[in-house]
């Protein structure tokens, strides 16, 4: 075993030969959008993301389904599975099985197995002083999803965010594989600062984040100002507050966005500054228009993130 439960990481890695290691992950959740086909796609993109974040190539998948068969038409389930399978096809992954149970609450997700070279595993814990941090998707999906639940998000915003959540991190992972990346993770439930906190903690480093460089879905600012911040953002903030120093001018809404739990969020990539601009321009050329260099790693205050 190379990566296991002892160090929190995106997926587990088990070495088979000197050249091949198995990378495995599982993720499932309750619906976040009304459309079952898109929910299936998002669940698959989210599950695949952990493999991409570690530099692996996903190969096979198994469905996990909990479905209220007595109260919900089976066509809903079919659409969810269809969404999942379409996303797997896009990723070049084969569905080889699965398991379903009856449950009052609908849940869907996947277990993904991939391959990775044992020497090329990207963990969260190998950042070096001076590394630049690149974020590939804008923040704010948790807030928008809360506004969707509240019936306040207009259709065009729902569509935009749904597409973003269903977007695979495959392209980003393939592009970054040509660069000397030190560490990577995908931004999910702990929010941007929560995941960055894990990274600097594991690497024994500090980080400086430039607020104005962080890509944010514009409507998330509006909805957060109206009070549509998910409970998870507050939990994330409470949990990691001691590791974050905000400059005074950072307003409360921005702080919430930085801790907003993301569904199928982007990759957060740490790499030497000499390669950062080139990786960024490659990402932007490949339809990740909002990707940005959001900060850098230092050794000034170990275990602290300074948001300026």
């Amino acid at each position: 075993m190379i990566v296991g439960l002892d160090r929190a990481d995106d997926a587990g890695v088990y070495k088979i030969t000197d050249d091949i290691a198995l990378i495995q992950t599982v993720d499932f959740f309750t619906p976040i959008v009304d459309d079952p086909y898109w929910f299936g796609q998002i669940a698959a993109a989210n599950a695949l993301s952990d493999v991409y974040a570690m530099g692996g190539v996903p190969k096979t998948a198994m469905n996990l389904v909990a479905f209220p068969i007595k109260t919900m038409p089976v066509s809903v389930l079919r659409e969810i599975i269809r969404g999942g399978i379409d996303k797997l096809k896009e990723a070049g992954v084969v569905l080889i099985g699965g398991h379903s149970i009856e449950d009052n609450e609908l849940k869907y997700g996947l277990s993904i197995t991939g391959l990775i070279h044992p020497d090329r595993i990207l963990t969260k814990h190998n950042m070096k002083p001076g590394d630049k941090l690149i974020l590939t998707k804008p923040l704010g999906t948790g807030i928008i999803n809360t506004a969707i639940k509240g019936g306040l998000a207009p259709d065009d915003v729902i569509e935009k965010v749904t597409r973003q959540m269903a977007m695979l991190n495959k392209n980003a992972a393939e592009i970054m594989s040509a660069f000397p990346v030190h560490a990577c993770t995908d931004i999910t439930g702990f929010g941007f600062l929560g995941h960055l906190a894990e990274m600097i903690w594991g690497s024994n480093m500090g980080a400086v984040i430039q607020r104005e460089d962080i890509p944010v879905i514009p409507e998330a600012i509006e909805f957060a100002s109206m009070g549509f911040v998910p409970g998870g953002a507050y939990k994330n903030r409470e949990f990691r507050e001691s590791m974050v120093q905000f400059s005074e001018e950072i307003d409360p809404v921005t702080r919430d966005i930085l801790f907003d739990p993301q569904t199928s969020g982007g990759l957060l990539i740490a790499l030497p500054p000499s390669h950062a601009d080139e990786l960024l321009s490659r990402l932007r050329q490949n339809s990740m228009d909002t990707a940005a260099i959001v900060g850098y790693i230092n050794t000034g205050k170990k275990g602290m993130i300074h948001v300026k």
Partner: protein, 205 residues
């Protein structure tokens, strides 16, 4: 609006976000209260509800009793009824219609018919939508705003939707109905003239 007795309360304890905010929003949309109190029991709900109230231009105060967090919102000056327009991004000021009602019946000829027409007019007035800004009742028009009047429920409904209703004080006094007025603000000739001046369109009845 006679505001101070309009305190609405919500118990949102034990509820996860965004439910407390949604309940607050529903109450404000439905009742348009001057004051609102929401009780929550977690920090996330507190911050979200306070933020929502401030977004809707309420002044907020927060007190803590044990695990309970009480949030009181008081409507700031000059915001009654405008929040929905702000929310929808519509420009409420694009056209302000004032309806001047100077009789308790519509038109001349048959008085019974005139009363029926007026009742129908008031109950259908809401179809003007957001552009209906203010109703001014003068002379026998004030009789539509007193207790027992057939049009009273419809005028109240309009007022709840944010339409401003002014009722002439001199006229109420003349008919000895000052104590019986049930809707709108008692007003004077200066307010009426200012309203006519500010309105984009005036409809005279």
């Amino acid at each position: 609006m006679d505001g101070d007795n309009q305190m609405k309360t919500i118990d949102a304890r034990g509820l996860a976000c965004p439910t407390p905010v949604l309940q607050t929003k529903a109450m404000i949309d439905k009742e348009d209260p001057e004051m609102i109190q929401i009780t929550v029991d977690n920090e996330a709900a507190r911050q979200n509800v306070v933020r929502f109230l401030e977004f809707r231009k309420f002044q907020t105060t927060v007190t803590t009793e044990g695990n309970d967090i009480k949030i009181v919102g008081k409507r700031g000056p000059g915001t009654a009824g405008q929040q929905e327009a702000d929310m929808a991004g519509t420009d409420r000021n694009s056209s302000q219609i004032l309806v001047m009602i100077s009789s308790d019946r519509m038109g001349h000829g048959d008085d019974d018919l005139g009363q029926k027409l007026m009742k129908s007019f008031i109950s259908t007035l809401k179809e003007m939508g957001n552009e209906l800004w203010r109703i001014v009742c003068v002379n026998s028009g004030v009789k539509l705003a007193i207790e027992g009047a057939e049009s009273l429920p419809h005028l109240k409904e309009l007022e709840e939707k944010g339409v401003s209703i002014l009722v002439c004080g001199t006229c109420l006094t003349h008919f000895n109905l000052l104590e019986k007025k049930q809707v709108g603000e008692t007003t004077n000739m200066l307010d009426i003239i200012t309203s006519l001046q500010v309105a984009d369109h005036v409809i005279n009845l």
